[in-house]
């Protein structure tokens, strides 16, 4: 039954976009073009997160630095000094700090993005926009903390007299890989988190476990050569070793490991995007 409420009339005459709203599908296209439409919203959400975090300025900036700094102290003392963990011939503090920074970027981005949908449920239930904007914004807003911590790293490198070679040009690639890894896993977890609320309690465990599975406190060179490519299944292993190679000038790039890492991230990311797109159709009903 269709009830015509009144005579049709076209006031504007221009060509308006037509949209068809239909029941949920199992497979829906990624429509990354739509994401582009919402780039300004993405910008504002990142800006909001950063602004709010640094509103009480003194502490906001300090936290970004404190966490990796204290971890470096603890690692240097227990792993470097007492347990005499090898550090590929580098001073242990800078060796571990150089890994802690991308690690922290990843760990924060992962936690933030996993909780992002729940944290923004008031938006999800009241307004339509490309939902992908939310976990992406959560990941990107962590970059400011990263940049602040990075300044400390530069200071440490100056202190130890380490001058990076041309490999530093590859650094943005590793930062991107860290961000994409966090986003890939964050997409899965954020969507799961909407449906199963105990996902957030597993986050702490996951992040801790992942930290020790990543060569942050130790070099990947203690893993036997033949297993090293397999180690790349953990994309953060590739990122961390990449950082050391790019900044501290270790002899050879971790190519085999990196290749595996990039493939893993790509698969996780594409899978995560499809999973997220499928689940987002019901976010507003269950969040």
């Amino acid at each position: 039954m269709s009830t015509a409420l009144s005579d049709a009339q076209n006031l504007t005459g221009e060509d308006l976009p037509t949209l068809l709203i239909t029941p949920p599908n199992r497979w829906i296209p990624l429509q990354l073009a739509e994401l582009w439409e919402y780039r300004e919203l993405l910008y504002f959400l990142v800006w909001r997160d950063i602004k709010v975090r640094y509103k009480q300025t003194a502490l906001g900036a300090a936290w970004a630095v404190m966490q990796p700094l204290f971890m470096m102290l603890v690692f240097s003392l227990f792993f470097g000094r007492l347990a005499r963990v090898p550090s590929d011939g580098m001073p242990y503090p800078v060796f571990t700090f150089c890994a802690l920074i991308p690690w922290q970027l990843f760990a924060n981005a992962l936690t933030e993005s996993s909780n992002s949908l729940i944290g923004n449920q008031n938006l999800i239930t009241k307004v339509y926009f490309a939902r992908l904007v939310i976990p992406i914004a959560a990941v990107l807003s962590g970059l400011v903390d990263f940049l602040i911590a990075f300044v400390i790293l530069i200071g440490m490198m100056l202190f130890y007299g380490i001058v990076p070679g041309p490999a530093i040009l590859a650094l943005p690639g590793f930062i991107l890989l860290a961000v994409l890894t966090a986003l890939a896993v964050g997409l899965w977890l954020s969507a799961l988190n909407v449906q199963y609320r105990d996902v957030r309690y597993t986050m702490n465990f996951l992040v801790q476990f992942w930290l020790f599975a990543t060569p942050v406190a130790y070099p990947s060179s203690i893993v036997p050569e033949s297993w090293r490519a397999l180690y790349g299944l953990n994309p953060m292993a590739g990122v961390v070793e990449g950082f050391r190679w790019a900044l501290l000038g270790k002899s050879s790039p971790p190519s085999a490991m990196l290749f595996v890492s990039v493939v893993v991230v790509f698969v996780l990311l594409v899978g995560g995007l499809y999973y997220f797109r499928r689940m987002e159709q019901e976010f507003a009903d269950i969040v």
Partner: protein, 424 residues
């Protein structure tokens, strides 16, 4: 040309499950236990919030959506604004849709007024350039010029909603979907909001407007859709539909539920309630019109002569504040002895008494100095819709007051005396 074509839209929700979301832990535990238990699927109760709703809205029309709470109005708006997907059916929408389901979505208390204008604007779908262009207009409309750089957590609630509405009102999409955002601010600002809404609905834009305020719907919308239990009950010109709605709304279908509730009350050796009803014009009322008196009718049996028997009736607002209390034989000179027998007690709340809000009436029979006949009172919710003379001059205004009696105002014109004084 139609701006919105809705075809057979249905939306199903699963209710009855304890929570909407589950713990992954439980899912894993269930999966692990399944081989030992055989498949025993827990069937969630299903609720059709919308069932086979079809209509179309011509471009440039303002259409009101009316109906009781739970009739599916909000679900329909959520589907039209793409927040949720229909279970069946489809909607074809021509043009950008802006949805204002609440004002101030995404406002952050730590951010300043200026910052929130940009953030909220971006969230409801405005382009940055558009916000910049309308910024001064928004600020002027909200009357918050002096506080632009103050965090909104320091705003008074009036300033907050003014700012929130101002941003929303400047959203320029071809189609606007609005849910009760009118009722904000003080009288002066509400009139301003209504004026703005009026401009919007006569600007060639398509507007869908959900409200319980019939006067506002009548003045803003030329047409209306009446939803009842997820289905369209009537469509047509807004004044016709509203008239039919108000007429039928006074007759009740709630009675059945009420009697079930009544049966569930535990029995008492001395007292038994036979029926309870809320009536207007002698008929059971689900939606109460403020312009008519409201009677609470209690039919009960007292099985023995009881000293100190009384029935206490209390009215609460939805926040749980007790607004009034009255005892059925409270004005006797001394505690009466009520003799055994069948009784009907009526208490009448006058016309022009309740304002248009939701209320609850709680009924508790007890025996003074002994016991309450029920462990907890019988609670009947009811909603009042404005239909009387009170504030009818300001149809867009919904008073925050819970009572809106027709007060005895007398105004005399003293202009001659006044002007004489001024001219001296």
């Amino acid at each position: 040309m139609s701006a919105i074509v809705c075809e057979g839209v249905s939306k199903k929700y699963a209710i009855g499950r304890r929570e909407r979301y589950r713990a992954l832990r439980d899912v894993i535990a269930e999966a692990a236990a399944r081989p030992f238990r055989g498949s025993r699927k827990e069937k969630a109760e299903l609720l059709w919030a919308l069932k086979d709703v079809s209509f179309d809205v011509a471009e440039g029309k303002a259409v009101g959506i009316i109906g009781r709470n739970g009739a599916g109005k909000s679900t329909l708006l959520k589907i039209l604004s793409r927040i949720t997907k229909p279970t069946q059916g489809s909607v074809r929408v021509r043009g950008r849709v802006g949805s204002l389901l609440e004002v101030g979505t995404g406002f952050h208390p730590e951010l300043t007024g200026r910052e929130n204008i940009f953030l909220n604007g971006a969230i409801i779908g405005m382009r940055r350039a558009e916000i910049v262009r309308k910024f001064d207009e928004i600020v002027a409309f909200a009357e918050v010029e002096k506080f632009l750089d103050t965090p909104v957590k320091r705003y008074s609630s009036g300033m907050y909603v003014r700012l929130a509405f101002a941003v929303a009102a400047h959203l320029e999409t071809e189609i606007l979907v609005i849910d009760e955002v009118l009722a904000v601010g003080d009288v002066a600002f509400q009139r301003k909001c209504l004026g703005k809404m009026n401009d919007l609905s006569h600007s060639g834009r398509t507007v869908l407007f959900v409200s319980h305020n019939m006067q506002a719907v009548r003045s803003l919308c030329s047409e209306a859709i009446w939803l009842e239990r997820g289905q369209i009950k009537a469509t047509g010109s807004s004044s016709d539909v509203i008239e039919r709605y108000l007429e039928l709304a006074t007759r009740n279908e709630n009675l059945g539920d009420l009697n079930t509730v009544l049966e569930a009350m535990p029995s008492d050796p001395a007292f038994g309630m036979n029926y309870v009803s809320l009536e207007q014009d002698g008929e059971t009322a689900a939606t109460v019109l403020s312009g008519k008196p409201l009677d609470l009718v209690l039919g009960y049996t007292l099985r023995r002569d009881t000293a100190g028997f009384h029935i206490c009736v209390r009215v609460f607002d939805v926040e749980g504040t007790m607004l009034l209390e009255t005892i059925h034989n409270g004005h006797s000179e001394e505690p009466p002895v009520v003799e055994a027998g069948d009784y009907v007690s009526r208490v009448s709340f006058p016309a022009e008494f309740f304002a248009a809000h939701a209320f609850e009436v709680a009924i508790l029979p007890s025996i003074a100095g002994q016991r309450d006949c029920w462990p907890r009172p019988l609670v009947i919710p009811f909603a009042v819709e404005a239909s009387g003379k009170v504030n009818r001059a300001y149809p867009g205004y919904a008073t925050p007051a819970k009572f809106a009696p027709l007060m005895n105002w007398r105004t005399e014109r003293l202009s001659r005396v006044m002007s004489a004084k001024v001219s001296q």
